[in-house]
Symmetry: C2
Subunit: 413 residues, 2 copies
């Protein structure tokens, strides 16, 4: 069960004009569920994406990068996204790359577009050959199922160890025109920036031009998916694509300084943050959702390093699982991640409203029962003040439980 | 139960002339066991050490650094080491520092030396005030118990979550003179370089001069304790001190080029490697011992980064726990830790004798049943070839089991 996450309902995910989604069962693994998703976008849709920095980037990630670059260079559209669950097509060498390209060719033939206008996503086990035949065979059924209100079914089809489908919609009125943003994501383990999510796809009907979208997607990723971590492992397949169909009746947004952009950015960010937090709330075995805010750093990178240092400490994570205010482990994690010239006598931290450390030592006001009270909650904020500068950063993580070990020990069985 | 580790017996830990060790029960926690150790060294003993790089270095670590620097500057001896288990005296601010100094003053009075000739170690819970009164009260009993063959009792007194005492002895004959090296260590969690061990103390009767010893202790740490990781958390208290009493009847070794040094170094390294591996073999919840050797790097640092990247991946560690050859997780971990300009099509890796990845893709000869066979073993070597240069490095780790979560969720209860 995810921590304080209300899964979307079919009705809560609003259609985006120009996008249809259809799922099908391709039996990528021996399971009885949909595991193939085809998203079809109308001509004129532009897209931008950010992808894993893992050096073993999966074949679909390599193809996504190529095809997005080709679309940007030629002004071609994003016409389709094809997603399979159950196999990551990563660590599969030249044949994996050929399989990912073959998928795109098959989709292009079906949809009636160029292969470069198709993006492939894969998620699942690494280093197994992709059953590309079964995917291609399943495409007509996915196409037949495609509808504008298919977002919920789409979110369900791309799940792996997720316990709930993840989706979010936001609507904002800009210059009297309603703008819709809807997105889906999956991911529960092997979650760490950059990217934090295994797979996310968001679309808006806002007419945002390709160049503006390319910057926007990076900025949005930095305040959403790149702040989410479950276990510190950046997967080979992480992909986040943002598509703009341009159906909203208003003049195109071609400049990053367009006054209409901030409201749209806020809606897009809200959607991305909801998806990123959903991934952590549904983190493998998670029983608690922990926000870590580090302030007073020299720059945001320093704050993120300290925040992730806390978020990745197995000792901190198991203490949260146990609701044990063994808060010296946070002291230790800060001490490992802080810059070498950090003056620890200026460092303080709080657990929600309870000050634990003041200027490098136990806060005189700290009482074990106050720490215990906060640790019993299922949602907790750690706030660290470094006393070095004015920068800040926030990341989200979950605890490390017995179920995390069980889920990952038994993943392939 | 540690993985393939035969704990020392009282007879297997050889006395080192000039060193006496005595343990006592100071009731640092509510337990019925020895938790205080006093090591007394004869005048003329020289020492050098390496300590945690955690910015929240514990009070005893700060005092050790000061006192070793004072000994080096003045030519004073190491006359005593005082160790307590159950409380780390870390994150305790100015009062913790005063407590650590008070301990040294009390020991100095008892032994008859200067406070600067005493080193303090502490291990246990972070951010609790040190019960320094109980330690000082326990010192006379520890002194009364001190004997040359007290190494085994000493190793037992400093345990925390360790399941077995850890010690090793080596003897080597140099120029016809037998040289003895004996050491003890403790540590099972919060284990990561630098330093990898919570606490280690080694002594030799070799007449190694202070200057030579200072370089030697760093070199030895790099090939032993700094290659050991259980959970990636560098503790606030990690300390390794190497003492030389000079009792062996031979001329002092005052130059790093002394031809007698290599044989001694080999014995000292063997002792340190045995202790470092013992810590990993007794890692919290460990069911497997995993050696990770990375070859073909541009430099040793690059190889260590990749090796630790594999060693710290919770997904890799849980796969080992499950004996599941889900080896794509190793691919993913290499991809995250490798240098950005790594050409993955030159990367290969092996699990013992089984080649899993060849030039960036699944090795054509790899068969699941071969991977399964090796994964079932309780001791496994991962060998990675990066194909970039001639450097190499080895680290040791263990798996991540349900017991790790249980031990760390329940640590303070």
């Amino acid at each position: 069960m995810p921590v304080r996450y209300t899964a979307p309902t079919p009705d809560s995910l609003l259609p985006v004009a120009g996008v249809a989604l259809g799922a099908a069962a391709a039996r990528i693994k021996k399971w009885d569920r949909n595991d193939l998703l085809l998203v079809v976008c109308d001509p004129g849709t532009v897209a931008a994406g950010v992808f894993t920095r893992n050096r073993f980037a999966a074949a679909p990630v390599q193809v996504c990068r190529e095809h997005l670059a080709a679309q940007a260079a030629s002004g071609a559209s994003l016409r389709a996204l094809v997603v399979n669950a159950g196999n990551a097509n990563a660590g599969t060498g030249a044949s994996g790359l050929a399989d990912a390209r073959a998928e795109c060719v098959a989709v292009a033939r079906l949809v009636g577009c160029a292969p470069e206008e198709v993006l492939p996503y894969s998620t699942g086990v690494i280093m197994e050959p992709l059953p590309v035949g079964r995917i291609i065979d399943g495409l007509p059924a996915a196409q037949a199922a495609a509808r504008a209100d298919g977002w919920f079914d789409a979110a369900s089809a791309i799940m792996t160890t997720d316990t709930v489908p993840k989706g979010a919609s936001h609507r904002v009125v800009v210059d009297g025109v309603p703008i819709t943003v809807t997105g889906i994501a999956k991911g529960a383990g092997m979650i760490h920036p950059d990217m934090a999510t295994m797979l996310a796809f968001m679309a808006t009907d806002a007419p945002i031009a390709a160049g503006v979208l390319a910057s926007l997607v990076r900025e949005v990723a930095d305040v959403s998916f790149n702040g989410a971590t479950v276990d510190g492992d950046t997967s080979t397949n992480d992909s986040f694509v943002l598509a703009a169909t341009g159906y909203a009746p208003m003049a195109p947004i071609t400049s990053p300084d367009d006054p209409r952009l901030p409201a749209m950015r806020t809606a897009i960010e809200a959607c991305a943050v909801a998806l990123a937090q959903a991934i952590v709330r549904d983190g493998e075995g998670a029983t608690k959702f922990i926000a870590i805010r580090v302030e007073g750093g020299v720059d945001a990178d320093e704050c993120r390093r300290v925040a992730f240092g806390i978020a990745h400490s197995p000792l901190v994570k198991t203490a949260f699982f146990a609701s044990d205010p063994n808060l010296g482990r946070i002291v230790c994690a800060i001490g490992n991640a802080a810059a070498p010239d950090t003056d620890v006598t200026k460092v303080s931290f709080w657990l929600d409203d309870v000050q634990v450390v003041e200027r490098g030592g136990r806060a005189p006001t700290y009482r074990e029962e106050d720490g215990q009270r906060v640790m019993r909650q299922d949602e907790i904020t750690i706030r660290v003040a470094l006393g070095r500068g004015a920068a800040a950063a926030t990341v989200w993580t979950c605890d490390l439980s017995h179920d995390y070990v069980s889920i990952n020990a038994d993943y392939r069985s």
